[in-house]
């Protein structure tokens, strides 16, 4: 047995979970897919006294329609979302990102809410939440319900607005603007590895074929998913061309502070980020109907 000792609770309703969280506070920890938490328990990086299992909680998993988009119960498996026709239809950027998460055996257990609550700076789903203007629903006994934007929720690597007694219950992703083209592009050393950099992009074109609206979110280059409102705004009104895309990519990486590690130097990451922004914007514009 590698994890430090803990007590295990298997509640069956959300109310029981909230009671347990209220009772145990920072000594309690919920487990969803366990695909990030089990390694942390085994390495003793996490040592909760009480583990609260969400897997038997009725009604916490599920995929439903929401505002032209889709709402996910927190414990919806990544693999279930990947196979959902509704997701394929309405959230192409999520459908493109999901298969990039680890491997099938990981996604069979890993959950949408778990990935977002875990808030790894190199994880795909936080970037998807940020680029789609997702709403994150948090509940606790003391605080009732609050609904946060991605910008409010993600506060740093592995750090979120979730209080010790709070449960992420739902991830609501609104539908796309009409005509939007989306892309999720990343560079990883091997298939299934955490990516070095990733970019989620959206482009909407006007009747003349110029950019009407754009969204851009970088992953793996900061301690939170990085939306770039200034670059997004500067794209509006521009014709879609290699020059426009290249200029946006240069601007997008200009302010980044990137550290070096065994996986690559800061300069290499900056280069990858610039190329990836270019690819993502080009693909999104193509998918929005820009002439090749």
């Amino acid at each position: 047995m590698k994890p430090a000792p803990f007590a295990y609770a298997a509640p069956t309703t959300e109310d029981e979970v909230l009671d347990l969280l209220a009772e145990h506070g920072d000594e309690g920890k919920v487990i969803a897919g366990g695909q990030s938490l089990l390694p942390m328990l085994s390495m003793r990086l996490a040592r909760p006294s009480v583990l609260i299992d969400l897997n038997g909680v009725a009604g916490l998993a599920g995929i439903t329609e929401f505002d032209g988009g889709v709402a996910f119960g927190a414990t919806t498996r990544e693999r279930a979302a990947e196979r959902s026709a509704l997701v394929g239809d309405r959230l192409p950027v999520l459908a493109e990102a999901l298969p990039l998460i680890g491997h099938e055996a990981i996604r069979n257990r890993g959950t949408i809410g778990g990935s977002i609550a875990h808030a790894d700076a190199s994880a795909e789903l936080p970037a998807v939440a940020a680029v789609t203007d997702a709403q994150l629903v948090l509940r606790s006994r003391a605080g009732g319900e609050r609904v946060l934007s991605a910008a409010e929720f993600f506060q740093g690597h592995y750090t979120t607005a979730l209080a010790d007694d709070e449960l992420l219950t739902e991830v609501r992703i609104p539908g796309s603007p009409p005509g939007a083209g989306w892309a999720f592009t990343e560079v990883a050393r091997r298939h299934g590895d955490f990516a070095l950099v990733g970019v989620a992009a959206m482009v909407v074109l006007d009747d003349a074929g110029s950019v009407e609206a754009a969204r851009l979110c970088l992953m793996g280059v900061a301690d939170v998913p990085l939306r770039l409102p200034a670059v997004e705004a500067s794209l509006a009104g521009q014709p879609v061309s290699a020059d426009t895309v290249a200029a946006a990519a240069t601007d997008a990486v200009a302010g980044l502070e990137l550290a070096s590690d065994v996986h690559g130097s800061g300069d290499f990451r900056r280069h990858l980020a610039e190329v990836t922004v270019r690819r993502a914007l080009t693909t999104a514009a193509d998918r929005a109907g820009a002439p090749a």
Binding site: M1, K2, P3, A4, P5, F6, A7, Y8, A9, A10, P11, T12, E16, D19, G34, Q35, L38, P39, L41, S42, M43, V50, L51, D53, N55, R79, G102, H103, E104, A105, I106, N108, R109, R190, H191, G192
Partner: protein, 161 residues
């Protein structure tokens, strides 16, 4: 609501048989299978989700048994590599691996075999590209992978799903 447990009786179906044993709640399914039930066919390499050696089927889906607590598998149906052969007759995926020399030391093999069984159950005729993608979560130190991809392709061509 039942109060939090530190040790409990765990009953589940393994390879079609009802099994049960008492275990500390922090026991992973992998350790429970190996030490609690004596099923040592499920191998442990990294014990944190990266190598795939411990892959088993949980209600038909491939999962890492090192990333699941045994207590979470109560009431579930688990299939391990021991559950594949019928008597002396190897499972078609095992036979195809054998025929393709899809292993050398064999340490990684149970994980590759279980991953392949899950793949072929869902997609009986995967492309070579798809096979490679699906096997990307399993690590082998010996073979260089080509013969493993061959083994999966051979199994698929024999309708082994």
């Amino acid at each position: 609501m039942t109060s939090p447990l530190t040790s409990t009786d765990i009953s589940l179906r393994v390879n079609g048989e009802e099994r049960s044993a008492t275990a500390d709640v922090r026991t992973t399914l992998a350790d429970f299978l190996r030490e609690g039930l004596g099923l040592t066919g499920t191998h442990l390499g990294c014990e944190h989700g990266v190598c795939g050696a411990c892959t088993v089927l949980l209600d038909g889906a491939a999962v890492r048994s090192c990333l699941l607590l045994a207590v979470q598998a109560r009431g579930a149906e688990v299939t391990t590599v021991e559950g594949l052969a019928e008597g002396d007759r190897l499972h078609p995926v095992q036979q195809a691996f054998h025929d393709s020399h899809a292993f050398q030391c064999g340490f990684c093999t149970p994980g590759f075999v279980m991953t392949t069984v899950a793949l072929l159950a869902e997609e009986p005729t995967p492309s070579r590209e798809r096979i490679r993608e699906c096997l990307s979560g399993n690590v082998c130190r010996c073979t260089g992978y080509q013969s493993i991809v061959d083994g999966v392709a051979l199994a698929a061509s024999r309708d082994a799903g």
